[in-house]
């Protein structure tokens, strides 16, 4: 079992980086690369969430605030099933199935009555679902959150370039989510189901009139969105968090991604997610030092955390000023 390289600490993507930066250019460079990869990783997770949200909005015209709850369920299911089966992979697979199933059941029971309603009704109803799921999880799993440990091989540092190490699991996240993104693209652009999805997005009544079972289609799309959310939840569970309310925190970021990328556009979600992930991670990693170089230490220390968390919102504000409909408006899907 290879030991984790202590120089590149197992630091969570969010929060201040550990350890002081050396003055050597090399370490700086390596740190920069590491943070870039962390940014990509966050971006990929955001993409999974945003893709599901934007699909559901684009096809069913539904604002789904409870999307974060499905993300949370994915994480909790994974932690539970992994503990029960003793295998991370098996636990993950079961969790994915469970979340997809939960999503579809939810769609039939609670979401269907909301189709065609004003968005405000969606907001009210799915907000209620958030409250429900948070307390349901607390009732079943308790208030303390859970941990999900990885098999030890996943913990080792993988050498991606000479002298450049990166935790293997994080690399896996990036690669797997890229694969999922590619599969999603294939699904939407090349399959019959994807064609129905795209058709349903542009003309619901027509698709219904053609005899396609719209109800089933919607349930499947919702299930797909739920799977993506759950998948994101379970993938990040070992390295970030499994706790109540985790959905709400990341949901906001997903919203920002969608606004920047353009509602209804998967491609937009992908590009925007990467931008947001990188900007947020690099901002948190480097902005405090940048500020310290420019301002006094006190001022920098006060402003830094606030400014770094603000950076993506500033980006969103900028996009809004220049291109209110997003980078890739839904016309190009």
């Amino acid at each position: 079992m290879a030991a984790l390289n202590p120089r590149h600490a197992w630091a969570p993507t969010r929060g201040a980086p550990t350890g002081a930066l050396g003055s050597q250019g090399d370490e700086q460079m390596l740190y920069f690369v590491e943070q870039c990869l962390n940014g990509v990783q966050l971006g990929m997770l955001l993409f999974l969430l945003a893709a599901g949200l934007t699909l559901i909005f684009g096809i069913m015209d539904l604002v789904n605030l409870a999307h974060g709850s499905l993300y949370m369920l994915g994480a909790y299911f994974a932690a539970t099933f992994a503990a029960v089966t003793g295998s991370f992979v098996l636990g993950a697979l079961l969790a994915l199935l469970a979340t997809a199933a939960s999503g579809m059941v939810l769609e039939v029971i609670a979401i269907r009555p909301l189709y065609g309603r004003p968005h405000l009704d969606h907001v009210l109803g799915t907000f209620g679902l958030i409250l429900f799921f948070n307390d349901l999880v607390r009732r079943i799993w308790g208030p303390d959150g859970m941990t999900l440990s990885l098999p030890s091989e996943m913990l080792r540092a993988f050498q991606i370039l000479p002298g450049v190490y990166y935790p293997l699991y994080r690399l896996v996240i990036i690669l797997v989510t890229l694969a999922v993104a590619a599969l999603l693209y294939l699904l939407v652009m090349r399959t019959r189901l994807g064609m129905l999805i795209r058709a349903g997005a542009s003309n619901r009544e027509m698709v219904g009139a053609l005899g396609i079972n719209i109800k089933l289609l919607y349930t499947l799309v919702f299930g797909l969105g739920a799977s993506l959310a759950g998948f994101a939840g379970l993938m990040q569970a070992p390295i970030l968090t499994v706790q109540i309310g985790m959905g709400e925190n990341i949901l906001i970021l997903a919203f920002v991604v969608i606004v920047i990328g353009g509602i209804g556009s998967i491609r937009g979600a992908f590009v925007a997610a990467l931008i947001v992930g990188l900007l947020d991670t690099l901002g948190r990693a480097f902005l405090p030092d940048l500020l310290r170089a420019v301002l006094s230490t006190d001022a920098a220390l006060t402003l830094a955390p606030a400014l770094s968390s603000m950076s993506i919102y500033m980006l969103m504000a900028t996009v809004l000023v220049i291109r209110p409909e997003g980078l890739f408006p839904a016309a190009s899907r």
Binding site: V63, L129, N134, D135, T302, A317, P324
Partner: protein, 326 residues
């Protein structure tokens, strides 16, 4: 020439005979009597709870102005509660305890923030607008968390209530309640005058049919922006009251789920009605309080209840009594 009363659709402060007026009048009367009840039963908790309800009702009135009448679904309105509260808290911390400075500052800073957020957000509409206001509010939340000097995530305990040079003593809880209650009545009256004025008709028209508004010659954006600023300022005022009420302010008041609570209150009470926000605040907050006494998991009941309201109760509770529902 006055419009025919029948089917006039006028949104008025003047009462209309019917169950809705009876309900509203009863509710207001009961609210006015809360301090009496608290004094008689010796239970100060009722007073505390209802002061909070009345303050949240003021915030809800401000949200109803833009959301109910204006159709601008702002999912970040709780941010202004926070701004108003922090204005009071920060000024206190820096040695300024006079309400004559704190309260206008709370209103002015909230208005300024609403101006900036509105100028950016109102360029979008529909779902975009919802998400953007949400994101901006969350941004302000994070900024507040980063204010270590003012408590950061733990919040700031405010040593004393706003002082008004001995004219009013806010430490008298009964007096404070009546001040809040008067502020509520005043807010409702103010909003009802605004929505029936020329300005208000533009806002309502823009909600009803924005394309038509442009076609007849209204530059809709600037009117919406001003409306947004007014709502932000009023909510900031509620925030100042809240900070005084709890002698405490923290970023938690601005977390986006609190904005959700505000929206629920407004929708529950009935969008675009003068007293809907009060009805909503009373019902929702009492329900929340009652549930939390009965069970540790109030969300298990409140959540589905909200979903059912969304599905079956169009127009909220006030809508149940509205005569000419479309």
């Amino acid at each position: 020439m006055k419009t025919a009363r029948e089917d006039s659709g006028k949104t008025g402060f003047a009462s209309r005979l019917g169950a809705r007026t009876a309900l509203t009048a009863t509710m207001l009367a009961l609210l006015a009597l809360v301090p009496l009840y608290a004094a008689v039963t010796g239970d100060p908790f009722a007073l505390t709870l209802f002061t909070r309800i009345v303050i949240m009702a003021i915030a809800a009135v401000s949200l109803d102005l833009i959301m109910g009448y204006g159709g601008m679904v702002s999912f970040g309105h709780a941010a202004y509660l926070g701004i108003g509260g922090y204005a009071v808290g920060i000024l206190w911390k820096e040695g300024i305890v006079s309400g004559f400075v704190q309260w206008p500052a709370a209103i002015a800073i909230s208005a300024l923030l609403a101006l900036v957020v509105g100028a950016l957000s109102l360029r979008t509409r529909g779902v975009y607008f919802i998400m953007i206001t949400l994101a901006f509010a969350q941004m302000i939340y994070y900024v507040a968390q980063g204010l270590d000097r003012y408590g950061g995530d733990d919040g700031l305990t405010i040593g004393q209530r706003s002082s008004f040079a001995g004219l009013i003593d806010l430490n008298n809880n009964t007096l404070f309640y009546y001040i809040c209650f008067a502020a509520l009545i005043g807010s409702i009256y103010l909003v009802s005058r605004i929505v029936n004025s020329r300005f208000g008709l533009v806002i309502q028209g823009a909600r009803s049919n924005e394309r038509r508004m442009r076609a007849i010659g209204f530059p809709v954006f600037r009117y919406r922006l001003v409306c947004f600023v007014i709502a932000g300022a009023l909510c900031g005022f509620a925030g100042a009251l809240l900070a005084n009420h709890t002698n405490f302010i923290s970023p938690a008041i601005m977390f986006w789920t609190r904005s959700g609570d505000l929206m629920v209150i407004v929708i529950l009470g009935g969008l675009g009605t003068p007293f809907g926000p009060v009805i909503g605040a009373v019902v929702y907050l009492i329900l929340e309080e009652a549930l939390s006494r009965v069970t540790e998991y109030s969300g298990l009941f409140l959540g589905p209840a909200l979903l059912l309201v969304a599905i079956y109760l169009r127009g909220g509770i006030a809508g149940l009594f509205r005569r000419n529902a479309p």
